[in-house]
């Protein structure tokens, strides 16, 4: 006997939800700090954490994070 149509739909939706959850878990585990700068023309450049530009951007970013938390 074939499963009811709504069962197929529910299985498919829960499968997508599982996939999305797994993607987010992987992203949290593997994502490393990064710095990305977008130019006015739409071009973007990502800077590796070891570079001089990235270091300056990370330093300024950490000062902004401190500024947001300062009361």
């Amino acid at each position: 006997m074939s499963p009811k149509p709504h069962r197929i739909l529910l299985d498919r939706v829960s499968g997508y939800a599982d996939e999305a959850g797994a993607y987010l878990r992987r992203r949290r585990q593997t994502r490393r700090p990064f710095a990305r700068v977008y130019a006015a023309g739409g071009r973007s450049v990502a800077y590796e954490p070891g570079t001089e530009t990235a270091r300056a951007l990370f330093l300024a970013a950490s000062r902004l994070i401190d500024a947001a938390e300062r009361e």
Binding site: V45, L59, L64, A67, A68
Partner: protein
């Protein structure tokens, strides 16, 4: 949709401080992951902040570091660190800075920032895009 409108400066001029404060309030309302944000004018002075201190100097430092990175003018910056994420958007001579929790949806934050900043830079005030809620119980709907 209503606009806060009175004798406003045209595009390019610094917006009034109440409008900048409204822009910050709108960002806080739209982004649940937001820890804080600020609006700077063309000179890098704070027009409005959500809290904290030292936004202007740190924001200018971030934008200067981004400018030094390439020959083209910078429109957006996104830096993700272990402690949180930082965004900067420039529009019409103004800059908005935002600090969020880690793993926030960057494209949504940048879109919200750009929308709010564009409204602010237009010189026509911040449009009230909030949905009108249901009428309180026992009162007729308008």
């Amino acid at each position: 949709m209503s606009r806060t409108k009175d004798s406003r400066p045209g595009p390019g001029a610094s917006p009034p401080v109440p409008d900048a404060e409204l822009a910050v309030a709108r960002m806080r309302e739209m982004s649940p992951d937001l820890r804080g944000c600020a609006v700077l004018d063309a000179a890098g002075t704070e027009l409005a902040i959500s809290g904290g201190s030292g936004w202007a100097s740190a924001g200018q430092e971030l934008l200067a570091a981004a400018e030094e990175a390439g020959p083209q003018p910078v429109s957006q910056v996104h830096v993700a660190t272990e402690d949180g994420e930082v965004f900067a958007v420039r529009e019409g001579g103004l800059a908005m800075l935002a600090v969020t929790e880690r793993f926030t949806l960057a494209s949504l934050v940048l879109f919200d920032m750009r929308t709010v900043l564009r409204d602010l830079a237009s010189g026509e005030g911040i449009p009230d895009r909030r949905a009108t809620g249901p009428a309180p119980l026992g009162e007729p709907a308008p």
